[in-house]
């Protein structure tokens, strides 16, 4: 590969042109996300793992806030010796990032001293700190739920006078908005609090395994580490129990694959007493389990299971079918645990010395200790909290509609963080003045224009990377989070004539070989289209896609490593998966026959 390496395979930042018809798009995003003069010297890669779609103006917050929090954790709080944070740019709606590292040995030594003390404290007190973390997150969710958004009623409540508060309700509009944004920031700081150290534990075990067993597949390391009782599988179990309840009550027939969830609900409600009983069971698990979002919380339109029941109901219909055909769908956790133990015991026994076995025990033990956090934090952060956060933002949207500034509550997400505040202040002023807000003529056409820009951005073929090819890329954080190594770059930078049009290479994430019909999903909102026996081809697969996995034969994704959720879930269901192909959704078309070779990480287009 190196012999024919393309010396400049990626465009420079300055060479990227605007998409026609999107003039003025830069105003959607804050100035610090725009390209800078020195950017051409830097290697950037498209973070399509977290941001597979163009960013609506408001959603740019979901890049800004996590990067503020992640960098704080690595650069300033723990002082990771060689790892700093991530810088980002938004180009034609896509988020490009570059990771900063420390290379000066003296500087690394200075940071190491601080890092060892601080990281050591966290590892030493992990259980206590995790327990504290859990309480903090539950309190934060409760806090954001409790926020009241003033409705700008004609007269202020009498209590403003009787309690001598002396503050008008318009003040609390902006305060509530600020508090929501601040809590979103707090959530992301919590998100990274234990995460980077948790990944560190995994990485050290991963590297040990690769050294002791040079041919060990990544997914085997992942399998030894992966938790069995993780929350994402618990959510799956809840759907299974709803399916079982429906069958027991004799109303399983209402769950038809592909049916409109509202129609299903109506049929259940109309079915009398069994329907009531099922609804009671449903209400019991709805909070928190239906706060799971179909995305990872990075886009406002990735709705929760409760907002859009297509995904969970489709899973329930599949489970109903299995139960009715006599299959036992209960997850065999004890068997899974026994198998995980057998695998790790056998690898342990294959090690050459007692010393190595001792180190193996320490590292794997540490992984099992810290991994519940790594696997479960998403449920609290990206799903539960974020679902509530967007729900609050929609309430602000309602207020802006009520004040005639916007036409639809969803329009709020076409304004960026500061613009939303501007619009709210407009409403606050008008309410106080007894006049009409002035922004309708400003915001409403802008919302339309931005919708149009996003549609054009969606058609843009975003380069997978930008800038000069780095000599090597051995950033452990980049490898852990994005699955990108020097080898990945080599593959990305192959000249077009060397890229096979029928073959895609990625990580062998879950073993096995199958052939079938591709279902290409460019947007997570299309997930309802997935049918029994499809091979799922997607940009990225998030944990909440779990429910479609029982229906599909294999999974392929553009982005993701062996610890990505597509990989974890595919292994759980024992189906082949190839992740991190870079371009599967661009090259494969729905309906094509493809072969997924999860042993070698190869996807072949057969048509």
């Amino acid at each position: 590969m190196s012999s024919k390496k393309n010396s400049r395979p990626f465009p420079l930042a300055s060479e990227i042109e605007d998409v026609p018809g999107t003039e003025g798009w830069e105003d959607m995003y804050p100035y610090y996300t725009r390209r800078q003069p020195g950017d051409d010297e830097i290697f950037w890669f498209y973070n399509s793992m977290h941001f597979p779609e163009p960013m609506p103006a408001f959603d740019a917050l979901t890049a800004e806030v996590p990067y503020t929090a992640m960098g704080a954790n690595t650069t300033r709080i723990f002082a990771f010796p060689a790892t700093l944070g991530v810088e980002h740019r938004i180009i034609n709606g896509r988020v490009y990032i570059t990771a900063h590292a420390v290379t000066d040995p003296d500087e690394i030594a200075r940071r190491t001293e601080i890092f060892n003390k601080r990281a050591g404290h966290y590892f030493e007190n992990w259980d206590e700190l995790y327990d504290k973390w859990h309480k903090k997150m539950l309190a934060l969710i409760e806090e954001i739920d409790a926020i009241e958004i003033p409705q700008l009623t004609e007269f202020d409540d009498e209590s403003a006078v009787l309690e001598g508060r002396g503050i008008g309700q318009n003040h609390f509009v902006r305060e509530a908005y600020h508090r929501c944004i601040d809590m979103f920031s707090v959530m992301w700081h919590h998100h990274f609090e234990l995460l980077m150290l948790g990944y560190g534990a995994y990485l050290v075990f991963f590297q040990f395994c690769k050294k002791a067993f040079p041919e060990i597949p990544d997914q085997i390391v992942a399998r030894m580490v992966a938790g069995i009782d993780i929350l994402m599988f618990k959510a799956d179990d809840k759907l299974k129990s709803l399916a079982q309840t429906a069958v027991d009550l004799g109303i399983g027939k209402h769950f038809v694959d592909g049916a409109d969830p509202d129609a299903v609900m109506a049929a259940i409600e109309a079915s009398g007493e069994p329907g009531e009983k099922w609804m009671a069971a449903f209400d019991e698990i709805r909070d928190p389990w239906f706060n799971i979002s179909v995305g990872d919380g990075f886009y406002h339109y990735h709705r929760s299971w409760d907002d859009d029941r297509t995904v969970p109901f489709s899973a329930i219909s599949h489970f109903v079918k299995l139960i009715e055909s006599g299959e036992d769908i209960v997850r065999k956790t004890e068997e899974l645990k026994a198998e995980r133990k057998r695998i790790s015991d056998e690898y342990r026994a294959l090690l050459g010395t007692e010393e190595e076995r001792g180190a193996f025990d320490q590292m794997l033990g540490l992984c099992h200790h810290v991994f519940p956090y790594v696997e479960d934090h998403k449920f609290y952060c990206e799903h539960w909290f974020t679902t509530r956060f967007y729900a609050k933002m929609r309430e602000f949207g309602d207020l802006l509609v009520k004040c005639k500034l916007l036409k639809d509550r969803e329009d709020i997400f076409q304004l960026n963080r500061s613009e939303v505040e501007d619009a709210l202040v407009d409403a606050m002023l008008a309410w106080a003045a007894g006049s009409e807000p002035l922004g309708a003529a400003r915001w409403q056409p802008l919302v339309e224009k931005r919708r149009d820009i996003l549609a054009k951005f969606a058609e843009w073929d975003a380069p997978i990377a930008i800038g000069p090819m780095p000599e090597h890329l051995e950033d452990p954080a980049v490898q852990m989070l994005w699955g990108i190594t020097s080898e990945t770059l080599d593959l990305w930078s192959l000249p077009p004539d060397q890229v096979s049009q029928n073959e895609l290479h990625g990580f062998a994430a879950s073993p096995g070989v199958v052939e079938g019909i591709a279902r290409v999903l460019k947007s997570v909102n299309d997930i309802g289209q997935v049918r029994e026996g499809d091979i799922l081809v997607s940009t990225v697969t998030t944990p909440s896609w779990g429910p479609v996995f029982p229906k599909i034969k294999a999974a392929v994704s553009d982005i993701g490593g062996t610890m990505s959720h597509a990989a974890i879930v595919a292994r759980e269901y024992g189906m082949p998966a190839v992740v991190g192909t870079g371009r599967a959704t661009k090259q494969i078309v729905t309906g094509q026959k493809i072969r997924v070779d999860g042993d070698n990480g190869i996807v072949t287009i057969l048509d």
């Binding site: 990771f80 050290v204 294959l350 320490q362 042993d599």
Partner: protein, 360 residues
């Protein structure tokens, strides 16, 4: 079988590794495999006393042994000349009648379904396949041998092969005493191999003990050993049985039984099979099980020869092992430990992230 015959002949299934001095390395290993519960083509062994008696009766033993011991391993032309001379001489020595009778009567017992069943005749020297000295492949093997006359001829050829130039050089280099060298011969039912190959319970390329590397091709395994075919290559996870890698090659030729009934011929593989995998996933799974069993039995990594054969009576496919010997290339190498325990488990993470230890 006469009392006398018994000391010349043993069934493979009666042998174990402990019998190496009288049965040679290969026979002992085959016997051991049988006792490990692994299928091996049935047969018998012409034990070393037969060879010793053969040389002694002819009055040739002392002479030959002295001649060899006087050679220097690096005098190649002398070794070659001596080898040629001795082998020629052995080829003309008569096989004592009682030994010949013992071989033939055992052969007849094998040939229940008609006279002259095809057999493989393989040398089994007393010094081969010991853990320190991999002696494999230095002596002869004859496939598809039929009939008593041909069998006796091939047994004698095997005996003679202990004096081929490579073997002599090898023994002289290690200065092995000649009076402790002897040769047994395995006479084994010939397997009608659909495909055959080798497998390694430790990766030959990386030394990884967690994989089983399987190589196979159509027909007899001799096409792989001789390098005439690039075999299909599979890497199987030893722990889970999952197939990590599969490279299916273009298998141009195969070795099969000569239609004349004896000997082996090379023929082109038909187009349908050339690029088709020679092993099904089920067969790979079975080989994986066998490899695990054999390795566990010996408590050490093994290099194994296998063949998938059709049962002549039922037509069913069955995996047979033809050989298993300890892996020696990696066993003798010093491998740096991947890690050592630290005072606290999390020190590993601190070490990694702080680059406290030099990263490799």
């Amino acid at each position: 079988m006469s009392q006398e015959g018994r000391s010349y002949i043993s069934r493979i299934s009666e042998l174990s590794l402990a019998d190496r001095p009288l049965a040679g390395g290969k026979s002992a290993s085959l016997g051991e495999l049988t006792s490990a519960g692994v299928a091996v083509p049935p047969g018998f062994v012409v034990m070393t006393p037969a060879f010793d008696e053969f040389l002694r009766t002819a009055g040739a033993d002392a002479e030959i042994r002295q001649e060899i011991e006087s050679l220097a391993h690096n005098e190649i032309s002398q070794v070659t000349a001596a080898s040629k001379r001795i082998r020629q001489r052995i080829g003309q020595l008569p096989v004592p009648p009682d030994i010949g009778d013992a071989i033939c009567s055992n052969y007849r017992e094998m040939s229940l379904n008609g006279a002259g069943c095809p057999v493989a005749v393989r040398s089994s020297a007393t010094c081969e396949d010991s853990e320190s000295a991999s002696f494999a492949g230095l002596q002869d093997t004859y496939l598809w041998v039929r009939g008593e006359e041909q069998l006796i001829e091939r047994v004698r050829s095997c005996w003679a092969s202990i004096y081929n130039a490579e073997s002599i050089t090898y023994r002289r280099r290690l200065e092995l005493p000649e009076d402790q060298i002897s040769m047994a011969v395995v006479v084994q039912q010939m397997v009608d191999a659909i495909c055959a190959g080798v497998m390694f319970t430790r990766s030959p390329t990386t030394g990884d003990k967690s994989v089983i590397v399987i190589e196979g091709s159509w027909g007899l395994g001799s096409s792989i050993v001789s390098g005439e075919v690039t075999p299909d290559h599979f890497v199987v996870n030893k722990v889970t049985g999952e197939i990590n890698k599969r490279n299916i090659s273009d298998k141009v030729v195969e070795h099969t039984a000569d239609p004349s009934g004896s000997g082996v011929r090379e023929q082109a593989v038909d187009d349908q099979r050339r690029r088709a995998p020679c092993l099904s996933d089920e067969s790979i799974a079975e080989l994986w099980q066998i490899a695990r069993k054999v390795e566990r039995h010996y408590a050490a990594p093994q290099d194994i020869e296998w063949a998938i054969c059709r049962d002549p009576d039922t037509g069913e496919q069955k995996i047979n092992l033809l050989q298993s010997r300890p892996e020696t290339a990696w066993a003798t190498r010093d491998v740096e430990p991947a890690a050592k325990p630290t005072a606290k488990a999390f020190d590993h993470v601190l070490d990694l992230l702080s680059a406290r230890k030099k990263r490799t």
